[in-house]
């Protein structure tokens, strides 16, 4: 197990290095620089000074090596646009907001999705099944930004139960979390339904029943735990989708999350901020996927053995 995690960790470092390299050279190959986008022309000598200050006058390879050195110390450098905050400070301000939203959405999806799917499977071809499948078809086919707008219209504007947007209190988080959770919730429900139906036909369910334990115990201890495995393996990608999806949702609901920095930084050619946010996201995603794989091992003992043996 330790060996496996160590191996995955090394792989993660290599992946992050590749992301840094690709992003760095892609970014610099885009025409323009952080200061050229201003409407008024900057005098030649001031421009030179600015370039010198941020080290942009040096050759690309040297800049690249400098950047790698800083990254190793988790220093993303100074923003080229903001004079008051470093990139690290900006991430520290935006990430908790995005993470809060993402975690809440994942929790909603992870609790309601499998529950909906399990109920659908237990009442196959009866009313609860149809209801939950209608919910999940809506969830899969309606994109999160449309869902967000609908929620604003019907829950915030028409009946005024919850605020339209903004950030600060718990009630601000409810609508964006649900808008964000809808898609994975629906996917989980569909996946859970099919895997639950499969599991319920397995011999070991019959064995469990033949022991005389209650129906609830058969379902919770024997069926759900086996049926949930495909969902756990899907969790890694889902988390990455949620983080990406939150750019749009943050925009719609006016939430000061990390997503906002990402879009503005690209428009502004704020090199250090682009790099900082991209690399940070990559780190978060890779960590999540690693955690998911470890969780999978804990749930399914068969995986544990094969990976130890490697």
């Amino acid at each position: 197990m330790t060996k496996y995690i160590l191996k995955r960790f090394t792989m993660a470092i290599v992946t992050i290095w590749a992301i840094i390299t690709i992003t760095f050279f892609l970014m610099h190959s885009v025409p323009g620089n952080p200061f050229a986008t201003e409407s008024r022309k900057i005098p030649e000598n001031i421009m030179e000074n600015l370039m010198k200050k941020y080290g942009l006058d040096k050759p690309k390879s040297e800049q690249y090596m400098m950047y790698l050195k800083n990254i190793a110390r988790f220093d993303f450098g100074e923003s080229m646009k903001s004079n008051t905050e470093t990139v690290n400070e900006m991430i520290a301000r935006g990430f908790p907001v995005s993470a809060h939203l993402g975690v809440q959405a994942i929790l909603i999806a992870l609790i309601l999705g499998p529950a909906l799917g399990a109920i659908a499977a237990l009442y196959q071809n009866k009313t609860p099944d149809y209801i939950s499948m209608i919910i999940s078809i809506i969830g899969v086919s309606v994109p999160s930004f449309v869902m967000g707008s609908f929620l604003i219209q019907f829950v915030a504007r028409n009946v005024d139960w919850l605020p339209i947007g903004g950030w600060g209190e718990f009630r601000h988080t409810i609508l964006p979390s649900f808008a964000l959770a809808m898609m994975p919730l629906a996917q989980f429900a569909r996946l859970m339904r099919s895997s639950m139906l499969e599991v319920l036909n397995q011999d070991y369910i019959k064995t469990a029943k033949s022991k005389g334990i209650t129906r609830t115990a058969v379902i919770m201890k024997h069926a759900v735990r086996n049926a949930i495995l495909p969902i756990v393996s899907m969790l890694g990608t889902t988390i990455s989708n949620l983080v990406a999806g939150s750019f749009v949702i943050e925009k719609i609901f006016g939430i000061p999350g990390l997503g906002m920095f990402f879009t503005t930084s690209v428009f502004n050619r704020d090199y250090t901020l682009i790099m900082g946010v991209t690399v940070f996201y990559a780190m978060v995603l890779i960590t999540m996927m690693l955690l998911v794989d470890i969780a999978y091992m804990l749930i399914d003992p068969r995986i544990r053995l094969t990976k130890e043996g490697r």
Partner: protein, 334 residues
């Protein structure tokens, strides 16, 4: 001898999209305390449905009891609610399934699977139950049971899993064990061990066993009485000696004739029973074996024969037993 289980005119059907499938069509038999009864017949003859219905393990719907009674210790199982059945399952009646590879939950430790029923039925604490599970694994000759109960099914071989399965079924010391082809999925060397084991445990605990199988070698080795089933009905019943020595029903004879023997010469063909069993979606009115029987008579097509007793323990359902058919039955292949 005291009757533990008595099945009276049991009929079980499945409601399907195309109509009713009559899987079991009026079977009656009994199991005495401490004896082993074999239920033999080919695939799809209703053996497993009969066995599962004794524990109410069939999914209902689509399955339903059409008529009949299953008297277990004098009480009718057909009438029991799910709640009442939970007190009987795994406590008074246990079941061993065909494929040990798929009958154990892959994500649960063996020990937990064994004690699960025990904790519920006997209100034992976790440690007490675990102690019993270790004892039981010892009894079924699983080495190092203290270590084994912490392992998962994928860490067990096929034979070991079936031993664990037996331990699981026997741990609460049930009155009746239903073994649904317990050795079919195992290789031959392990088969014998598992059967020996079941016999040993039976001797020790005095359990009655219903053994469902199509392996007649197993039957001869281990059972007291044999019930031959075909097309959802019972064809013949008798003690092992009677059935093997003096089979009365043409189906039983053909079944016995299709077992390969060591003393067969190389040129001799292995007998098989031509044709396919009847479609129970539209069950035949007469004898279900009519289509495939070499000795079929006109009456067999539309009229089901009654039970004819040859001895107190041996009966068969065949028109050849009728006085008017005398002479046909004698001297046919046996």
């Amino acid at each position: 001898m005291e009757k533990l289980l008595e099945v009276k005119d049991l009929a079980v059907s499945f409601q399907t999209f195309f109509g009713e499938v009559e899987a079991v069509r009026g079977v009656s038999f009994h199991v005495n305390k401490g004896e082993t009864v074999a239920l033999v017949g080919e695939s799809g003859c209703g053996k497993s449905v009969t066995a599962s219905s004794i524990m109410q393990l069939l999914p209902m719907p689509p399955a339903f009891y059409k008529r009949g009674q299953i008297l277990f210790e004098g009480e009718d199982i057909v009438q029991k609610s799910e709640k009442e059945m939970q007190k009987i399952r795994g406590n008074k009646i246990s079941m061993i399934f065909q494929d040990p590879m798929t009958s154990l939950n892959p994500t649960m430790r063996i020990g937990n699977q064994i004690v699960e029923g025990l904790i519920k039925h006997q209100k034992l604490s976790k440690t007490e139950a675990e102690k019993k599970a270790i004892e039981m694994l010892n009894l079924v000759s699983v080495p190092q049971p203290e270590k084994r109960i912490r392992q998962y099914p994928h860490e067990f071989s096929g034979g070991m899993r079936q031993r664990a399965m037996i331990a699981l079924a026997m741990v609460s010391n049930p009155e009746l064990l239903i073994a649904d082809e317990p050795t079919t999925a195992l290789d031959v060397t392990v088969q014998a061990q598992i059967l020996d084991l079941m016999k040993q445990i039976q001797d020790k605990l005095g359990t009655s066993i219903i053994l469902i199988t199509h392996d007649l070698g197993v039957v001869a080795d281990m059972c007291d009485r044999v019930i031959v089933m075909y097309g959802g009905q019972l064809m013949e019943e008798g003690t092992v000696y009677e059935i093997f020595k003096n089979p009365k029903h043409p189906y039983t004879r053909k079944l016995l004739g299709s077992v390969p023997r060591l003393d067969m010469s190389r040129s001799e063909m292995l007998h098989s029973i031509e044709g396919t069993p009847p479609d129970l979606y539209k069950p035949p009115k007469g004898c279900p074996f009519y289509d495939r029987c070499d000795e079929a008579m006109i009456i067999c097509k539309d009229h089901m024969p009654q039970r004819d007793y040859h001895t107190d323990t041996h009966y068969s359902c065949c028109w050849l037993n009728h006085p008017m058919a005398k002479g046909v039955a004698e001297g046919s292949e046996a």
